[in-house]
Symmetry: C2
Subunit: 291 residues, 2 copies
């Protein structure tokens, strides 16, 4: 059994991106990502700060546009319009959640697809589904980069995905079935209406779990020798920790790990890859390789 | 075992559409579909003629723009641009195949998504994948309409799709897994790289076959009581027929039918539904219900 080390993979990709950014700067293109942050949600601030740090590590300029939580939708859309037309801005992300008076759909649809480095825009999702060049959604792409780094074979394998969210389960299930590597897997997508999830997970050569329930996948649900990718992250109370909590994923790691050929830990598995995917999209946007 | 009668379902939907068109005309909106036909491919002419006939049956105005096969890409794109801006045109389709000197991708991307009643545009595919209102691709939507007409339960069922094409397999696999009816099925997508297709098909409560091989699915590949939807259509030589051929699907109908609870025949199953989906999208485009 091998524990997939997301931090190492992320660092390796960041190293490559740094070289790419340097060569872009030589051509007078300085990759620039703008993050839009509304309100003072603590988690959002933490995420944006982490993205800013990662940008600076690879040489991407990052700018944060910070708005009070009472900003009008109109003002936000105008700002996005301005950034759409700024040739020095290559990528743009809007940190979610947004206050209730602002329509997430409207905001997302206003970002031009060419700068939608989160890959959330319908055009990018559609291009991805059709197998056309596009900005891949961060977490699914992070999962595929992990499989690639460890040379894990996917062609003809049975990949079972738990969870059908628009940001993880749905896109990763599409990507794993496409005619390329990683991909070419037979893919089963399970969700809240699947009555017999265990029957499906037991058939998985590759199990991707994004179901949002702490330690949902137990040892008796996975096949011997399978690859398990855990996208979940949860804080659960733990009196033995100084902080009073510990982080767990959607998979009962201790019990499941010994049955696997490869498994991602939480933290340190898929997590570090998400921001790296965003950096990859931003560099592609700047270099014109995005589309 | 019940044979799904696509003709009856198509006629029933056309009857509803006719009423909808009449009420739109009362509001001075006359649904109008434009078909663009390039060259003199016999099959394309037959398809376009069938679409024209179906339009006239429900009261949709249909116009055919016919071009010689040496039309330039530029002229075609200009025509599409003109039609994009014509408020009296609600839907537009380009009959494929196009001559080799014309880029299908460019042509498709030029049609504004609001008039892309074939649902092929990346925006429509993306909106469909995200569960947003969109023009659904014709054949997958036809499949879902058949399931709906016969009140076939899909929630929690295992739906196995054979074939991952952008126009049938991929979109129908997404639609069958979405949170609605028909949908909420656990979906497995199999394709040319699936080594053991029979293992999967034997688990299917609902089997949707779009693999493009005549009579590929045999009786020993389907589960007793399953629902089998056959999207294929092939001409195979048959000396006993006056025409010298007969039409078959991707499923060995005679042998498979007796194991099924429901099965679509070929012809007369999915086929008649495809044009009806196009009419549905056109009426939705005219009424503003498309988006």
């Amino acid at each position: 059994m091998k524990v997939i080390d997301g931090k190492t993979v992320a660092e390796s990709i960041k190293g490559q991106l740094k070289l790419k950014v340097e060569s872009l700067i030589e051509k007078d293109i300085h990759p620039h990502l703008v993050a839009i942050l509304v309100g003072d949600d603590g988690a959002s601030q933490t995420y944006v700060a982490a993205k800013e740090k990662a940008c600076s590590e690879v040489g991407i300029i990052s700018t944060i546009y910070k708005f009070e939580s009472d900003v009008t939708e109109d003002e936000l859309l105008k700002t996005i319009g301005f950034l759409n037309n700024d040739p020095d801005v290559h990528g743009m992300i809007v940190q979610l959640p947004l206050p209730a008076h602002i329509s997430v759909d409207k905001v997302m649809a206003t970002i031009v697809p060419e700068k939608d480095v989160d890959g959330f825009h319908a055009v990018n999702v559609g291009r991805m589904a059709l197998g056309l060049p596009s900005y891949l959604p961060a977490t699914p792409n992070g999962v595929l980069e992990l499989l690639k780094f460890y040379n894990i074979s996917t062609e003809g394998k049975h990949c079972v995905v738990l969870g059908r969210s628009n940001i993880v389960g749905m896109p990763v299930s599409l990507m794993m079935g496409q005619k390329k590597y990683p991909g070419n897997a037979t893919v089963t997508l399970c969700h809240s209406k699947t009555p017999n999830i265990k029957e499906h997970t037991l058939q998985a050569d590759i199990l991707i779990v994004a179901i949002g329930q702490p330690e949902y996948v137990k040892a008796d649900m996975v096949k011997e020798g399978s690859v398990v990718i855990d996208v979940g992250i949860h804080r659960i109370p733990d009196a033995s920790k100084k902080s009073g909590f510990r982080l767990v994923g959607d998979v009962d790691f201790q019990a499941v790990a010994e049955k696997c050929s490869f498994i991602t830990p939480v933290p340190g598995g898929v997590g570090p890859m998400t921001i790296v995917s965003l950096l990859m999209n931003t560099v592609n946007a700047a270099s014109g390789e995005g589309y």
